[in-house]
């Protein structure tokens, strides 16, 4: 059974890795220890599996742990988790692409996503990065599907506004 359980857990890691990464990213941005934090979240989930009453909720379970791992990490570094704190999602472009207009736009988008309130940012990351459906995001964040759509709408409006593409924040 042990071998099977480990196998099963491995598949859970593969399946939820991006969502956990999105959760950490949404709180901390691109940190050097991102991989370590993702690993820590799954290890805590593994240790706490016996408390998970419904395996159908593993996604929400590990996402919450990832959220808490991020908060712990902030506190260890002497910072307090602030919902409006900016994070850094920038990606250093390749030298050959620095002058690329499109690359510049994508980098601006990443920066603006990083400046969003954490609640919007999390929804954006889960939807656009992790490519979950609204229903799945609702399950992970413990909010209704309508609330997810509302957050995504607000996030899009915000981005359009700051990028000068119309709409209002």
């Amino acid at each position: 059974m042990l071998a099977g359980a480990r196998d099963a857990f491995g598949w859970l890691v593969v399946r939820h890795s991006r969502a956990v990464r999105a959760a950490v990213l949404s709180r901390l941005g691109r940190t050097n220890d991102l991989d370590d934090l993702v690993q820590e979240a799954f290890l805590r989930a593994y240790q706490g599996l016996s408390r998970l009453e419904d395996p159908g909720r593993f996604g929400a379970f590990v996402h919450r742990i990832a959220h808490n791992v991020s908060i712990d990490r902030l506190r260890r570094s002497g910072r307090e988790p602030e919902p409006l704190a900016e994070i850094d999602l920038s990606v250093a472009p390749e030298p050959a692409r620095t002058a690329d207009v499109r690359e510049e736009r994508l980098e601006r988008l990443r920066l603006q996503v990083g400046k969003m309130p954490a609640t919007l940012r999390e929804a954006v990351l889960l939807f656009y990065f992790e490519q979950k459906s609204s229903a799945e995001i609702g399950a992970v964040l413990a909010i209704s599907e309508a609330a997810v759509q509302q957050r995504l709408h607000r996030a899009r409006q915000h981005l359009k506004a700051v990028l000068g593409e119309g709409g209002s924040a």
Partner: protein
């Protein structure tokens, strides 16, 4: 500007590697009982003439098949459209989820305290599930969900699911009783807690981990067992049953049962006649179709065991060509086993040559230490096989085939030292 598309593209570079994440996590979980190569076979070949550096451990620290995991990422992570989805499609979580170290401003505070890792207890609901690993696109018909097309990857599916494979096989693991089922390509079977109904193709079943009554049905043929490793194949209207371990009973219609022991096979003809059991001479050939699955599973015990069995057959000699073929299927992983068993002074030169040629055909570049060790062999044809293998894997060439066959030992030693220095 398309904001949706741009957001996806902008955030894509933030993606990590789920395969690498899985490898790291799995490597840090409490270890399974070790399944090492017997008798230190994971070490470098020891030179009888000079101290040797240890062979690099094969790049499989966690046992995670990264290529397969990558396939799982592509296919398996399409959560919303695959079989495993249903058990995760619920909405607001009721679960007592873990929380941070200290509570603040309503944040969650129910994370488990850090404690020694312990084996996970499978939640009750998982007892109704199976883990399905699709090695190629396939179709399932899941009770309560219906027909779904799956891409390669790992999924959770309900007991009673019908699996129809295409160009690749599938593996299933039943959580509730540890039964393992493998389906060959172009096969169809319904898999339940204590029963498999084979409609077409070939199925393998093992209930050895936790013996319990289990039945395989193939048309009117029933195979009953408690603890068995068995393979059943439908060949038109006929059924072929191979008992690999344990024992079983074969019935056809209402007729009497026939007992079948380990390493025996029986066929059941279209009219229901059960032939007398025949011994299986060489199991490797009849189970070769499962090798890709065995190589890709996380627990390497079975892989090591199968390689060791094939090396033993290779040593015995009765089925040496067949065993060599099977070892080729296992690839470079088999090199240390073959070397340890076959390349030493107690083995006749010609058998050492055959082993060296086998090693030469499956070794990869990271295994040049084993090939260098073969170059030190006293048998000229062993050295020639090693030379050819080194050329094959892309090592820089030192001298030629004739040199390694005929040159005096002192000259070969100097060239070998130079060669080692070149690839260091």
């Amino acid at each position: 500007m398309n904001l949706d598309r741009d957001l996806r593209e902008a955030l894509a570079p933030l993606a990590g590697d789920p395969a690498a994440d899985a490898a790291r996590v799995m490597a840090s979980l409490p270890p399974l009982p070790a399944a090492p190569l017997p008798d230190g076979q994971d070490a470098s070949p020891e030179s009888p003439r000079q101290p040797r550096r240890r062979q690099p451990v094969p790049d499989k620290s966690s046992g995670w098949p990264l290529s397969f995991v990558a396939a799982a990422v592509l296919g398996g992570l399409a959560i919303g459209v695959v079989a495993g989805v249903w058990w995760e499609a619920s909405h607001v979580p009721q679960v007592a989820a873990p929380g941070p170290e200290k509570e603040k401003d309503g944040e969650q505070k129910d994370e488990p305290k850090k404690e020694e890792p312990k084996p996970p207890v499978m939640p009750t609901r998982e007892q109704d599930l199976m883990m399905l690993m699709a090695f190629a696109p396939l179709e399932i018909d899941e009770p309560g969900v219906g027909v779904q097309q799956l891409e390669p990857g790992g999924f959770a599916t309900r007991l009673g699911t019908v699996v129809r494979t295409g160009e690749g096989g599938a593996g299933l693991y039943v959580y509730a009783n540890d039964a393992r089922v493998r389906l060959d390509h172009q096969s169809a079977a319904m898999v339940d807690l204590d029963k498999v109904e084979l409609d077409a193709g070939r199925v393998w079943l093992s209930t050895l981990t936790r013996p319990a009554p289990f039945e395989i049905r193939a048309g009117a043929v029933r195979i009953e067992s408690k603890a068995v490793e068995v393979q059943v194949q439908r060949l038109g209207a006929e059924v072929d049953v191979l008992c690999l371990q344990g024992a079983l009973q074969v019935r056809s219609g209402e007729g009497p049962a026939r007992g079948v022991e380990a390493m025996q096979r029986v066929s059941v003809s279209a009219d229901g006649t059960i032939a007398a059991p025949e011994p299986i001479g060489f199991a490797g050939a009849v189970t070769a179709w499962m090798v890709p699955m065995v190589k890709q599973q996380q627990d390497e015990t079975e892989l090591n065991h199968r390689i060791a069995m094939m090396v033993e057959e290779f040593q015995k000699g009765t089925y040496r060509p067949e065993a060599a073929l099977e070892l080729r299927r296992f690839g470079s992983r088999a090199v240390p086993y073959v070397y340890k068993a076959m390349v030493h002074r107690g083995v006749p030169d010609d058998e050492q040559r055959q082993a060296a040629e086998l090693i030469g055909s499956i070794a990869e570049y990271s295994q040049v230490p084993w090939l260098f060790a073969l170059l030190e062999n006293d048998a000229p044809e062993v050295r020639v096989a090693a030379f050819r293998a080194l050329v094959r894997v892309g090592a820089p060439r030192v001298d030629d085939e004739a040199f390694w066959r005929e040159a005096p030992a002192s000259e070969r030693e100097r060239s070998l030292a130079r060669w080692r220095a070149l690839v260091r």
